[in-house]
Amino acid sequence: MIEFFIENASSFASDIDNLFEVVTWIIGFWFFVTFGTFVYLLIRFRRKKGVKAQYVAGEKHSETKWTHYPHYAVIAFDVAIIALNIFVWVDIKQTLPPRDNMIRVIGQQWSWTFVHAGPDGELDTSDDIATANDLHVKVDNTYHFELQSRDVLHNFSVPAFRLRQDAVPGRTINGWFKPTKTGTYDLQCAEMCGYGHGIMGAAITVHTEANFNETMDQIKKGTYESHYQKRRGTKTEAPSKISKENSKSTFTDVLASIF
């Protein structure tokens, strides 16, 4: 159901989507049964002349079974949801699968720094490549990330990957993801981080192997054009109602003066 609104571009995205769908069926069933009963009772027992209401205390077993039996069913469904959820959670957050590559993600007010491990796949070596607001990854590689923050809380969130993790200053948080579809996606800060929180975005590009190496070469040579800038430049003004001057609020100017 979520794919309808946004692509799923990582290995665990469909796990989350499927869990969402199962829970939707369960919840939808309860919602329509409860809401249907509610509306039925309202119509069936609306005030009619000469009809007196019944006296039901709801304390005898013959009466309480009407609330207790559905209630046992709720408990059964709860257990099912908890069990399914723990399976998915253990997979995506609690365990780290073997890695193919490493990146370090550093949040600060109000931009992202990404350190790519380079060809040797290890961080803190001489072939590391750092970029600002542009993250490049290879498709079908399992990435481990080290998430850090320089000042306040940030949140490394890539909706297309169904990935989200807070960055806490003073700590390194480890996690993983495995992109499965090439393309460029939004990367947002999802934890209130102050004045510029609303524009603390970045672009994450999933490349094929060849493409990735080419981009890395461009970055080294300095001929690289930021995907983030390019994307914002072409797509930001998309809604027809907003004229170009208007969508550029004073804020961009303020930021330009800060950096």
């Binding site: 969402f20 829970v23 027992f45 609306r46 007196k52 006296y55 959820n85 969508s247």
Partner: protein, 570 residues
């Protein structure tokens, strides 16, 4: 009757024998009814401010960068300030004062049949501190740097370091206001619990207390038990802000996550603190207008205790992805999903109450039923967020916003209108206009759904909270998503316009409405046995209670209600 009440009565009688001057009657009252109304009116004024903020930032989202009529340009700093204070105001300065302090003060002594709160002076002080807290909050919008903009959860280090938040005094005043507000509710809470436990009319057993009173008392117990850690946290945060300690700063050996634990240890019970009073009020309303005994009084009461108890062990579901140990999340998933068990049972009991009734769709009943319908959506969507794996995607997204507005809007706004329209005849001695009341109900309820249903879809599309302009994100700048934003904003504007119907109805009815009889709804509880509005001291002679509050349509009786204080025939 306990000694405490006798003492209070004596004190009151000696002091208030003669007619009170305006100052002592309305500005510095000891009468619980006037204090209750002070709370309600202050809360309503704060609700106007909170609604105005919502209008300003919703307009910015729909028409980014344009001048908002009646507000002006909403920049990013201002946007943060607006969302932060919208949340803070609606929870701490609207939901709590109106539903707990306001109606709690007004109805508890009337419903349990006593003359006033046990500690009237404490009660007055509690309101005065509350008023001060509201003024401090409003002051914080106008200091240098503007109001606090670090979200209502105030996570440090953003909230503790002025260089990060850019609102030096804004953050401190905000924190001070919240702390003052807690002090006020602690004082009020002591009063509510003591009054209900000690001053009930003779014959009123524990199981004869109306659910509305019970639930306010349970809410207050939850509040008082959970607020301690947060007050400790607030003091530490204040010291971090003003004298440079580093309780929450990693560079000085502190831990930002500590605040989150302290905050949510309070913050989750707080959800039930505001839920329960409305739940209780709705229980009273649906029984009156369905002419039915509440289905399973004891079950409803025990499920409330169970919900309250469980609410203390679910807090970390706000922190699944905040950097806590992922293994810990599993425990909190179990407790969080389990909370659906008592709440589902409570909901089933409410719906079962309608069975076999004679349902009359008056304005208060519409609000009560509207609450149940809307809260049902809010309740079931909570399951998604309690499941940690789904929360990975939905955390801090618009799905969360839609979910908690489907709980908080019914609780705060619908519950407030339910209570106001239900007790209006008692409070002001006049009836409200039913036609205008119904127009106002539908004019609020339909736009409310049009406003928040699209936000679920935006959440599914990956739209995160607290972002002042989504057009900066190409995946979110798509035309169809933007149309949803505009639609939601327009619904809000329509909803706000319909509130003028209520304001008109409220004030015109207050002065020119039809005179209300003592018991216009033919209800059982004690407040309806005295004149509307009740005189100072409430009851001429203290009533005796012979039965529970929900004895409607008892077989073998001619009338379909049986007031609690009517003596049984020999």
């Amino acid at each position: 009757m306990s000694q405490a009440t006798t003492a209070v009565q004596k004190e009151q009688h000696s002091e208030h024998h003669q007619e009170l001057s305006f100052l002592y009657k309305y500005i510095l009252p000891l009468d619980h009814k006037i204090i209750g109304m002070q709370y309600i009116f202050t809360g309503l004024i704060m609700a106007v401010i909170g609604g105005y903020f919502a209008y300003a930032f919703r307009m910015q989202l729909a028409f980014p960068g344009e001048i908002v009529p009646l507000y002006g340009l909403v920049g990013p700093g201002e946007y943060n300030m607006l969302v932060t204070n919208h949340g803070t105001i609606m929870i701490f300065w609207v939901a709590m004062p109106v539903l707990i302090a306001g109606f709690g003060n007004y109805i508890i002594p009337l419903m349990i049949g006593c003359d006033d709160m046990v500690f009237p002076r404490l009660n007055r002080l509690s309101y005065q501190i509350f008023l001060a807290s509201a003024l401090v909050l409003i002051l914080s919008f106008f200091v240098k740097g503007g109001g606090f903009g670090g979200a209502w959860t105030a996570y440090p280090p953003l909230s503790s370091v002025a260089e990060y938040s850019l609102t030096d005094w804004g953050s401190s005043l905000w924190l001070l206001a919240v702390a003052l507000e807690f002090v006020s509710f602690l004082l009020g809470g002591i009063n509510f619990i003591t009054t209900t436990m000690n001053s009930r009319a003779p014959g009123m057993k524990m199981m004869d207390i109306p659910i509305a009173v019970w639930f306010i008392v349970i809410a207050v117990i939850l509040f008082m038990a959970s607020v301690g850690p947060l007050i400790a946290g607030a003091v530490m945060l204040f010291m971090d802000q003003r004298i440079g300690t580093s309780f929450f700063l990693p560079s000085g050996g502190g831990d930002p996550l500590l605040w989150q634990h302290l905050f949510w240890f309070f913050g989750h019970p707080e959800v039930y603190v505001v839920l329960l009073p409305t739940m209780g009020i709705v229980a009273d309303i649906i029984t009156v207008f369905a002419r039915k005994k509440l289905f399973g009084y004891r079950t409803v009461l025990y499920t409330a205790f169970a919900t309250g108890g469980l609410s203390f062990v679910v807090w970390a579901h706000h922190q699944f992805i905040a950097g806590i140990d992922p293994r810990m999340a599993n425990v909190f998933v179990v407790t969080t999903v389990l909370i659906s068990i008592p709440l589902a049972e409570m909901m089933f009991c409410y719906i079962a109450t309608l069975y076999g009734g004679s349902i009359q769709f008056t304005t208060p009943m519409l609000w009560g039923l509207g609450f149940l319908a809307a809260f049902l959506i809010g309740g079931v969507t909570g399951i998604y967020l309690g499941a940690s794996a789904i929360d990975v995607y939905f955390h801090d997204s618009y799905f969360v916003i839609a979910h908690f507005h489907y709980t908080f809007f019914p609780i705060t706004i619908i519950g407030m209108f339910a209570a106001l329209t239900y007790w209006f005849p008692k409070m002001f001695g006049r009836m409200m206009n039913e036609t205008l009341g119904k127009i106002h109900f539908w004019g609020t309820f339909i736009p409310f759904n049009c406003l928040f249903l699209p936000l679920f879809l935006l959440g599914l599309a990956g739209q995160n909270r607290r972002v002042y302009n989504f057009l900066n994100y190409p995946d979110l700048a798509r035309q169809e998503l933007h149309d949803l934003r505009v639609f939601a904003t327009m619904s809000l504007v329509v909803m706000l316009l319909f509130q003028f119907v209520f304001i008109y109805n409220f004030f015109v009815s207050m002065f020119f409405g039809k005179k209300a009889p003592n018991n216009p709804w033919e209800a059982n509880s004690l407040e309806w046995s005295i004149p509307s509005p009740p005189p100072h001291g409430n009851f001429k002679t203290l009533p005796s209670v012979y039965r529970g509050p929900y004895e409607y349509s008892v077989p073998g009786r001619e009338s379909d209600y049986w007031p609690q204080n009517e003596p049984p025939k020999k």
